[in-house]
Every structure is written in C-alpha cells, then in structure tokens.
C-alpha cells in the first residue's frame, strides 16, 4: 500500500488531471431521460411481457386514462353536450386508441318493429333527458363503468398505447387541457387510471432527481461543518459529491439507461454515500497531520486508508450489484448505476481529498472536537466494563426483531405510494368507490376459429363471469357473453327472459354479425373479441390494486376458469396491465431474496479475503447481522410491507452497513499489531480514533437519508427511513456490539498473548 501511496503522491498532478478530464467527459455524456413505461420494467424477451404485448396488440390499448366527472345533475343538457363534445375531440387525438363515454355508448334495444343500436345520446334534446337518464342507469353494460349506480358520476375512458414517459406526459396534459376547456360550472373533474399513474410516477421521478438532492445537500453541508468546523473541508467533500455525481450520471447515460421511480433514487444515494471515503480520509489526515511533512502525511494517510476504503467501497458496490440478477430492468439499472457510482466516489476521494488537504497550512487542518472525543472515550469505557450487558441486550433486541421478520408482509399497492392528500390519490379513490375501479385484469380465452360463437363456450364464459362478479373486490365484469345476451334480448322485443345465450350457433353468429353492422358495435367488440372469434377476454375491473389481494384474486379466478373450461378445447390465460405489474412484484421479491443471498455471500467472501481471517470474518458478520435483521424486523413490526420500493433495502443496507465494521477491524488489528498494548486499550484507542470517522459518516449519511422523508412518494420515504435506520443500527453494531464481541472473544481472537488480554 505504501508504494501505491507514494505513486499517488508522485503522480498526483497527473491523477488529478485524469480525474478532472474523466469528470468533464462524463459530464458531457449526461442525458437524463425519464421513462416509467412498462418496457423499463421488463426485458423485451420476458415471456409474460411478450404475452402481454400480444394481448395488447390483439385487444387494442394498454393504458387507460379515466376522466371522472361528478355532478348532482349529470343528465342535464349542458353536461351531456359537454361530454359529447369532449368525446369527439378526444377521439381525434392521434395517441388515443379508443374513447368510451356516455356520448358514444350504444344501447342495444328491441322495438316492436326491430332492433336499434343507437348511441345513448343520439337524440340529445331537453325533452329526452329523463329517458336518457333512465336508459343509462338501467343498462347493465354501462352501470358502474360509465355511470355510477346513483347517476352522479360518469367517466370518459381513453385507451392509449403503451408509450414513453415523455409522450405520456404530453398526451395527459393535452387531455387535461381539452377536458378543462369549457367545463360546465356545476361539474367536478377527476383524473385517474394507470395512464395518469404513469405520469404521476414521472413527476415523482423528477422530484427524486432534482428536488431531493437540493434538500439533501444543505443538510449534509451543515453536518459536515458541525463535525469538521471547516468550510474548506466542506468544499472538498462537495467537490467529491459533484464529481462523483457527474461521472455516475454520465456513465449511466452512456449505458442508455432511463430514470424512473426506482432509479430516480440513484442521485440522492450517490450524493449521500460518496462522502464516506472522503470523511475517513480527512479524519485520518487530521489525526496524523502534525507528525510529519505534507508529503509524509499524504503518503501515510493513503497507506492506511486506501485498503479499508477500497474494501468498503467494494462491499457496498457488491450489495448494489446483487440487484443485477433482478429480472426487472429498472432495478438492474439502479444496481449497476449505484455500484459504479460508489467506485467513482472511491477513486475521486483518494485522489482529490488528500491533494486538497495538503494545500492547507498545518495549523488550519482542523481541530479535534474535545467533547466528541470525550464521548467516544466514554463509549469505549462502557464497552470495556459492560460488554456482557451489551451482548445480552443485543441478543434480546436481535431476537425481538428476528421475531418481527415473521410478521413481514409482501405487498405492493402502487396507489398507496401516493400521499393521501394528493389529487391523483383522491381521484382514484373516488373512481374506485363510484365507478369500475382502475385495476384492470383480463382473462383471455382462446381456441380455434369461431370457437367463441359456440353456445357451450359462451354459456361457460357467462357462468364464469357471473361467478367472478360475485368475488369480493370485483367491481365490474364484461365479456362477449354479456353482449350476446343483450342483443338476444333486444331481438326478442326486450323480453327479459331472453337475456341469455341462445342455443343455436347460427343464431349467435347472426346476432354478432348484426351487431358488427354498426361502427359502434364493432368498436365495442374489438376490445372484447378478435374478428375471427378465436380469442376473447373477460374484462375484470377490480377495486384495489394491492398486489397481494389481486394475485390471490387472479389465482382464484384462474382456478375457477380452469375448472369451468376443463372439458373444452380452449386455453385460458391471464393478462392486463395490473396483472403484469403484480407479476413484476412477484419477480422482484423472488429475485431480491436471491439477490440478498448473493450480496451476503459476496460481502462475506470479501470480508474473509480482506481480513485473511475466519475469526475476524465471523466477527464482522455477527456485527452486521444485527442491523440487517433489525431493519427487516422493524418492517415487520411496523407494518412496512416488502414492496417494489423497499425490497432493495436489504441488499443496499448490507453493502453500506459493513463499511464501518471494516474500518473498525482494520484499525483495531493495526493498532494491535503496531502498539504492544492490551486488547481493552487497543479497543479504546480504536473506538476513539476510528469511531470519530465512523460516527461522522454515519451521522452525515443518516441525516442525508432522513431528508428523503420529505418526499411525497412513499417508496422514497420508506427507502430513506429504512437506510437511515440501517445506518443507525449499523453504528450501534460497530460502536457497541463489535467492541463488546471482541472483548468477549478476546481469548479466541488473540490466543498468542495472554499478557495482552486483561
């Protein structure tokens, strides 16, 4: 290490120049693009995604934007005219695949003379308003979908193709602008649907990228100043943060990765974590500054600090890199981006920080905080005298939190990620309560050509739809069977007893043929059945989009469908945006359990290799199991679910938590080797010296992560809180449990010298 430190000193200007050039080059490469669309979550070869793409291609549309309208007088001439005008206007949007509202909803009604397939609002005149209201409220196809059962809510549902975030933002703004123009006074408008959710995700991604780092920086600045009482050191650490961020974002852009709700946390993460190595370098530099020349201090600092900093950076990077095995692209990108960012921060820190420090005159290189020193001495004495109590207490706390792990629930409810006072959340709740809900799942039934004209299949479909409609949480079920029953009834003078699937395949075929005579009829059927009648879907609108509830529901429906169609020649499979999101959560959770195991193995291996000692390796694992188990236990006890946002915490936390342990053990072993003093004295010296840097970095990082609590977005808040808590527990582990464990195992750790073990 000494040779490396000497080389770094000799070529310090070259190193500096290289770091600056690299930063500038990566700075030019920065191109932040936001994309929360489905393709950033799934690899293009993912079978479920491909199946969804096929489903989307067949049944049109993918994302729904729901414009919910509330008024005590929906069926007034001005509001219905407004709906008619806006529907026509929205249909002309090039991005809109279909628009559905009361204005283009068709009534299939039987008359004494024939059948009418007419738009509900075809004769929109004052004298017809009562009739229109009656017709709308009585029609089973509209109820709780386009109109609430009390007639006070109605919806304009626009289906969009899956599109990039930028295009989605524009499309949503355009729809909102169109809808707001000429709005009747007595009408309230609410925007919801998964298309709107996509744009809200974009908003929070932007917040994570721009606003949060701006809030984190002053807090970090304040804490660095409190700890070092030097503006110059503040400047040096901010230089490291800035350069690390430039390099990371440039590299991330170079790889062509976009930002989304997950990867948006990359910027605050790098801002916070990039100072750790710098703080350790400054602390060590300050400690030895008066013992030698600038050159000696430079070399001595790097000789002793480079290896632990490198190992801590590698372990953190390994924790983050374990995310690479995730099948979700967003998580992979976050893992790669953050791991590379940590390594950039390491290289920048060891080149920039010592160089900047030697520019300072010796007497201005910082003052020791006496109060802080005495606190650390107190902790060291407490550890020495009360190590048994510490270990017993830690054991009890560990068991308590381990018990909490059994209580953890795996669930992602993306609606709950939004603040409850947020307009989108409130609108979605209203849509869920009064209309069909925003959760959309589809059961696809497929077979040979014209299979969906078979009475037997349609009757089974009808029976299954009815049974699904009875399940808790299901708001609306629509299938081809509903249309056939409605047409059949209309053709029999609207006699309710003919609201059933006819017995003859020819009649069904002819009824469908009749229905598709009109554009409106074809428009409606294209979302429910393919023109060759090979594939049809049962559209299921559900109230909640909680992953746990909807996966249970999907499993149940799939079982029911399997039983219903077991004797037929049709295949049944599930699809829909919500279903895909839920599958994504399932993948994520499964992969993260693997990811964490991989990170644990990697980190442990690095520890064993770095310490070249099984004993010290085991010791560091014990100290680090405590924060990891604690954090998962806290999630269990406090009802924080393991979801898309929180699932990465364990892997990331492991990488970060182990850093201080490495610094502590490295220093302890060096002190033990260099100074022939007893184990308690060595521990005291280590606690005071390395403890200062460890607590400094932990406090700064905790403060930085706690700032994420300001975010209105739940995954960001939970990520910040859980990482801050992890760091807190890791600090307890390193400052109390690790020294206490060394005290308890001192005979085992240092068997060769009884004299040194008191």
């Amino acid at each position: 290490m000494k040779k490396l430190a000497e080389l770094l000193y000799k070529f310090r200007f070259w190193c500096l120049a290289i770091v600056i050039i690299v930063t500038v080059v990566f700075g030019f490469l920065i191109n932040i693009q936001t994309d929360n669309s489905l393709k950033v979550w799934f690899s293009s070869d993912n079978p479920d995604y491909l199946m969804y793409e096929n489903y989307r291609e067949v049944f049109e549309g993918g994302r729904y934007f729901i414009v919910a309208l509330r008024s005590d007088n929906i069926f007034s001439l001005d509001i219905l005219s407004y709906i008619k005008e806006k529907t026509a206007c929205l249909k002309n949007l090039p991005q809109a695949k279909s628009v559905h509202s009361l204005a283009n909803a068709n009534r299939i009604i039987g008359t004494s003379e024939g059948i009418e397939i007419n738009p509900l609002l075809s004769r929109l005149e004052k004298k017809n308003l009562v009739k229109i209201k009656k017709n709308a409220l009585e029609d089973e196809l509209f109820k709780n979908y386009l109109i609430s059962s009390d007639g006070k809510f109605t919806a304009i549902v626009i289906a969009f193709e899956e599109m990039s975030s930028e295009k989605a933002d524009k499309a949503v703004s355009l729809v909102e602008e169109i809808v707001e123009q000429g709005k009747p006074e007595n009408l309230e408008i609410f925007f919801s649907g998964d298309m709107k959710m996509l744009t809200e995700f974009n908003r929070f991604t932007g917040e994570n990228q721009r606003i949060l780092p701006m809030l984190v920086l002053p807090v970090i600045c304040l804490f660095i100043f409190i700890l070092f009482r030097s503006w110059y050191k503040n400047f040096v650490l901010f230089l490291v943060i800035g350069m690390s961020l430039f390099c990371t974002l440039g590299f991330y852009s170079f790889l062509g990765y976009p930002f989304n709700v997950i990867t948006g946390m990359l910027i605050p993460l790098i801002v916070i974590l990039s100072i750790a190595d710098g703080v350790h370098i400054i602390k060590y530099f300050d400690e030895i500054k008066e013992k030698g020349s600038k050159k000696e201090t430079f070399i001595n600092t790097l000789e002793h600090i480079t290896l632990p900093c490198f190992i801590t950076s590698i372990t953190t990077a390994c924790g983050l890199l374990s995310l690479v095995i995730s099948p979700i692209d967003a998580v992979k990108h976050f893992g790669i981006g953050a791991a590379v960012g940590i390594m950039f921060a390491f290289f920048i820190s060891i080149i920039i920080v010592p160089y900047c420090l030697i520019l300072l005159p010796v007497n201005q290189r910082g003052k020791e905080n006496k109060y802080w020193q005495s606190c650390l001495k107190g902790i060291a004495e407490f550890n020495e005298k009360r190590f048994k109590y510490i270990l017993v207490t830690a054991m009890l706390v560990f068991v308590f939190f381990a018990w909490g792990i059994t209580k953890i629930t795996i669930e992602t409810n993306q609606i709950e990620w939004f603040p409850h006072e947020d307009d989108f959340y409130k609108s979605t709740m209203l849509v869920n309560q009064n209309l069909s809900g925003i959760g959309d799942m589809a059961l696809v039934i497929e077979g040979e050509e014209d299979i969906l004209k078979e009475p037997e299949i349609l009757r089974k479909m009808d029976k299954l739809s009815g049974a699904i409609g009875q399940l808790p949480g299901v708001k609306k079920v629509i299938s081809l069977a509903d249309y056939i029953k409605t047409i059949n009834k209309a053709l029999k003078e609207d006699n309710p007893q003919y609201y059933k699937i006819p017995d003859s395949k020819s009649l069904i075929a002819q009824e469908l043929f009749l229905f598709t005579f009109s554009d409106e009829g074809r428009e409606e059927l294209k979302n429910i059945v393919t023109p060759d009648y090979k594939q049809g879907k049962i559209s299921i609108k559900i109230e909640s989009i909680s992953s746990r509830e909807s996966i249970l529901l999907a499993d149940l429906i799939q079982k029911m469908a399997g039983d219903t169609f077991s004797t037929t020649k049709v295949n049944v499979f599930f699809s829909g945006t919500l279903y895909l999101y839920n599958l994504m959560n399932e993948y994520l959770l499964k992969s993260q359990i693997k990811g964490f195991s991989l990170a644990f193995l990697l980190v442990c291996s690095i520890l064993f290799i770095a310490f070249r000692s099984i004993k010290y390796g085991c010791l560091s694992i014990i100290a680090n199991l405590f924060p990891i188990v604690s954090i998962i236990g806290i999630m269990g006890w406090f009802g924080i679910t393991l979801n898309t946002g929180t699932v990465m915490v364990a892997s990331v936390a492991l990488g970060i938590a182990v850093d201080d342990t490495i610094h502590f053990i490295f220093r302890f072993r060096r002190e033990l080797k260099n100074n022939k003093i007893s184990v308690p004295d060595t521990l005291r010296k280590t606690t005071v010296s390395v403890g200062s840097a460890v607590t400094s970095t932990s406090i700064i990082n905790i403060a930085g992560f706690l700032i994420l609590l300001i975010s209105g977005f739940q995954p960001t808040r939970e990520f910040g809180l859980l990482i801050a808590l992890t760091l807190f527990f890791a600090l307890i582990g390193d400052m109390l449990i690790l020294p206490a464990s060394i005290m308890a195992m001192r005979r085992l750790l240092i068997p060769d010298s009884n004299e040194r073990i008191k």
Partner: protein
C-alpha cells in the same frame, strides 16, 4: 359562300369560347356528371368480399346484390351466402331523398325481419371499410364541391381532381379528394381526410370494364390506414337492366 359560312362558324366558336358559352367545368359540374352516370335501371350481381385486419387475418364473405332505381331513389337487397353461419342473412335498404334511409335485416336463425336504426351516413357497411354511402352512392346535394385541378393524371388516366366537402358538420370525413376519370366519370382513387387532416381511408378502383355498355368497377379496395384494415370487393358476375320486379325489393323478399 361555303367558305364564308365556315369562317363565320369558326368566329362564332372562338367568340363563344371567349364569352363562356361553353363553360369551364366546376366541381359541381363534375359531381353532377358522376351522379348522372349511367348505372342501368337495375342490376343483379354476385360479389366476394375479403376483409383483412392489421395482423393479416382474412375473413371472406360472398353475397348476392340486386339494385333498382325507383325514380331517383335506389332500393338495394343484399343476401349473404358465405360464411355458412350467416348464410341467408339478408339486408334491404330503401333510399329516401331528404330523410333517413330505411334498413331492414333478416336473420334466418331468428326467422324474423328487423328494422335497423342507425343515424350516420358515413358509418361502415356490415363490418367492411366501405360506408353505406360508398355502397349505395352519395346524394349530390349532401356535399359542396371544388375542382382542385382540371387535369390530374392517375395511372396514365386523365382525371379531374375533385374535392367534396360534406354539409353535415358531424361527418367523419370533412374532406374527400377524388381522382375522377375524364372520359367516363368513374372515380379511380379517393382519399378520405379525417378531422385531424390526415388521410384515414383510401379508395382504389383496381379493375374497370364496360359491361352492357355501362362502365363497371369489377374490383375495388378500401383501406383504412388508421386501424390498418382493408376490404377488397370483387364483382364476380353482373347483369344490368334485367327488368327486376319491384316486388323483389319488398320486405318479405328478405326471407326468400
């Protein structure tokens, strides 16, 4: 004297041309020519339709069509022969000037005749990309016209380039640009513009032949670019002026 007369006649024609005795063609004039084009008193034909969706999946239909002119108001009877499950399904249209057309449908499996009420003239016909208007013909008075070019060449044919604007403001296609052959007033191509100014549908005449001295389109294609769907119609047999009885256009004929 003879030479004098010839000179005088030449002068008259030259002057007549200058003063507009032979007027320049206008959009309305071209549209009127299309409207009055000879189509026979009646016609009896068999056609095949091929409907192709964006995934290339085809659906075929065969139908028999008879048409008769009742003092400027056409009556049209279509009977489907294929696919088998809709065989016998029949559709009758009674055109009325100045009011909505009447439409009746017979579904053999149901055994009863039904009246179908629809309001839109530019609504597609029976799941094809052709509108009812495309099938039964446009009413001259429903549009205003503008002759964009007096000479436009389309596939080596000299054409008028005609723009038709529907008077109905709710129309799906507020502008139709047509290439109309100068010699027989057959539309060879037409682009249908939607409300956003894009070409949504394109009509093409693929085969044209004189049958019983009447210019007849034997193969025609309508392609909807927005939904990537197209309909090809191939007329397999056609006879004109067979003296079809008026009774064949009565409602009860649907069941036969």
């Amino acid at each position: 004297m003879k030479r004098y007369l010839l000179c005088m006649l030449s002068l008259v024609f030259i002057l007549a041309d200058i003063k507009g005795v032979f007027p320049q063609p206008t959009g309305l004039w071209v549209a009127g020519k299309i409207d009055k084009r000879e189509t026979g008193k009646d016609s009896d034909l068999k056609m095949k339709m091929i409907l192709t969706d964006k995934k290339g999946r085809e659906r075929k239909r065969t139908l028999f069509v008879i048409r008769k002119d009742f003092n400027g108001e056409d009556k049209l009877l279509l009977k489907f022969a294929y696919p088998n499950d809709i065989s016998g399904t029949a559709f009758l249209v009674w055109e009325h000037k100045g009011e909505d057309n009447e439409r009746f449908l017979y579904l053999p499996a149901l055994g009863r005749i039904r009246r179908i009420a629809t309001n839109q003239k530019d609504e597609n016909f029976a799941g094809t990309d052709f509108s009812y208007e495309d099938i039964s013909g446009r009413k001259l008075e429903d549009y205003t016209y503008h002759l964009e070019k007096e000479l436009a060449v389309y596939e080596d044919n000299e054409c008028y380039l005609l723009i038709s604007y529907p008077k109905d403001s709710d129309s799906k296609y507020p502008k139709i640009l047509s290439w109309v052959r100068k010699d027989n007033f057959i539309t060879l191509k037409a682009d249908y513009y939607n409300n956003t100014g894009e070409i949504e549908k394109t009509y093409k005449c693929l085969e044209l032949k004189q049958i019983d001295k009447i210019w007849t389109v034997l193969e025609l294609l309508m392609e909807n670019h927005k939904i990537r769907h197209k309909t090809l119609i191939r007329v397999e047999k056609i006879k004109y002026n067979q003296g079809l009885s008026s009774k064949r256009f009565e409602r009860k004929e649907l069941k036969r």
